[in-house]
Amino acid sequence: MAEESISISSKIDPKFRYEVIRMPGGEKLLQCFQCGTCTSDCPVARFSDKYRPRKIIRMAQLGLREKVLSSDFLWLCASCFTCTDRCPQGVEVASVIRVLKNMAAAEGRIPEVFKVLLSNLIKTGYIYEIPESRIKKRESLGLPPLPKVNIEGLNKSLQGMSIESFLKGVSEKGREAKLWV
């Protein structure tokens, strides 16, 4: 215990919390008084032994930048927004966690699945590669063709959004990664 607190204290970034509250969705981070409503009502926390929204918020308040941004549990928030709706302090818990994911992503810490979704998006406009067989089947089901995608226009709108840096390291094999299990 003592050892851990020493090693952590050397990695505190006192400005981190101010970075978070300047981002849209992160504004109310400092109002959290650690009641734990978020964790006790979190559907993911019920079944995961590592995902605890209250702890993530505390880590952000304390400035444990590296520890929180490099964690894999950060990405387990299902964005159901139960915590946001029930927080007695009005902290948008799910949005603070999304801000932290955005900060991690900006540093290139991105789970493979999101790279696959993004690479599909810039090629097809959809986050999935919709198989040819599905597109053909639409006709036999009496469905109209899929709406057309303006790929060029889409990509122009995304200029300056660091798409290439998000996609760094995406493997072609990963494109077949399970998305919806």
Binding site: G125, Y128, W180
Partner: protein, 292 residues
């Protein structure tokens, strides 16, 4: 009133990828209820699945869709609560924040688009209840499903975060129950009705997401429901297509049919299962079809 209702149909990504049964049945029932769907002239993902990477990226993606829709002057109808909440949140956020709106519009301008904020985004359940109305739906019911007891699952994004959505109460959802009742079936109460399906983390942790599926299906079974009714493609995918995976993971048998609400409504309106995408269901709803 009396005029036919017309909406721009925003399909999203999940439905054409895996859940065409929802689209097939929704188009059928909406047509019969006098709703005209106009296809999007141009489309891209709503942005929700990519918000974990960048909030601004999500805003650009959804604002593009809203800007395209504005050119048609029609309000959007979505089948997916994820698309619904994302487009709605973006519209509200940009209307309230002029500087942000200008910043996002700088991106949109690159492809000749501009977000002004002139249209509304509605989920099909909202259109059914608010625009078409339960009275009109009731008149279209030719085969009331009186023998069915059904559990409803609305999905998180239909009502959360409540400050952005505000048409349904996330703690005590009523819309889907009213819609089930109007078919003549009985909506049943069950434990954990508002719990999340886990779809957004299915690719990251299948133990957790399938545990959520398991819990929901066990509660639905305990309540004695004949089926679970969804109004979200992602929730449907979790409870229906992934039910068999959950059964394998936990060595249990649930056997709960999961129908899109539009399939249920179609049956009550006298349509045949074959017209409503029932062939695509993996958990065969044989028992329900025998009961009606």
């Amino acid at each position: 009133m009396g005029m036919s209702q017309k909406y721009l149909f925003y399909l999203g990504c999940a439905i054409p990828y895996r859940v065409s049964s929802y689209e097939v049945s929704a188009r059928k029932v909406l047509e019969k209820l006098g709703v005209e769907l106009v296809e999007m002239p141009e489309f891209n993902c709503c942005g929700l699945p990519l918000e974990p990477l960048s909030h601004e990226l999500m805003l650009i993606l959804s604002a593009r869709n809203l800007a395209v829709a504005e050119q048609t002057g029609l309000n959007i109808l979505t089948l997916c609560p994820g698309c619904f909440s994302t487009l709605r949140k973006t519209g509200k956020t940009l209307k309230e924040n002029k500087a942000l709106k200008e910043e996002i519009n700088r991106h949109l301008k690159e492809s000749g688009l501009e977000f002004k904020g002139g249209i509304e985004v509605k989920h099909i359940s909202q259109v059914l209840v608010e625009d078409i109305g339960l009275d009109k739906i009731k008149k279209a019911i030719v085969k009331p499903l009186r023998n069915l007891k059904l559990a409803g699952h609305s999905g998180c994004h239909l009502s959360r975060p409540k400050k952005y959505i505000g048409f349904e109460d996330p703690e005590n959802p009523r819309v889907l129950k009213m819609l089930i009742s109007v078919t003549g079936a009985k909506p049943v109460e069950y434990l954990g009705e508002t719990e999340c399906c886990g779809s957004t983390i299915a690719a990251l942790d299948d133990k957790v997401s399938l545990s959520l599926v398991r819990e929901k299906l066990l509660h639905v079974k305990e309540a004695g429901a004949d089926a679970l009714i969804t109004i979200c493609p992602a929730c449907h995918m979790m409870y229906e297509a992934n039910q068999i995976r959950a059964e394998k993971m936990f060595g249990e048998k649930y056997g709960i049919p999961v129908l899109h609400y539009t399939q249920l409504l179609g049956l009550a309106m006298g349509m045949q299962p074959g017209e409503l995408g029932f062939d695509e269901l993996r958990v065969k709803p044989t028992k329900i079809l025998e009961k009606i």
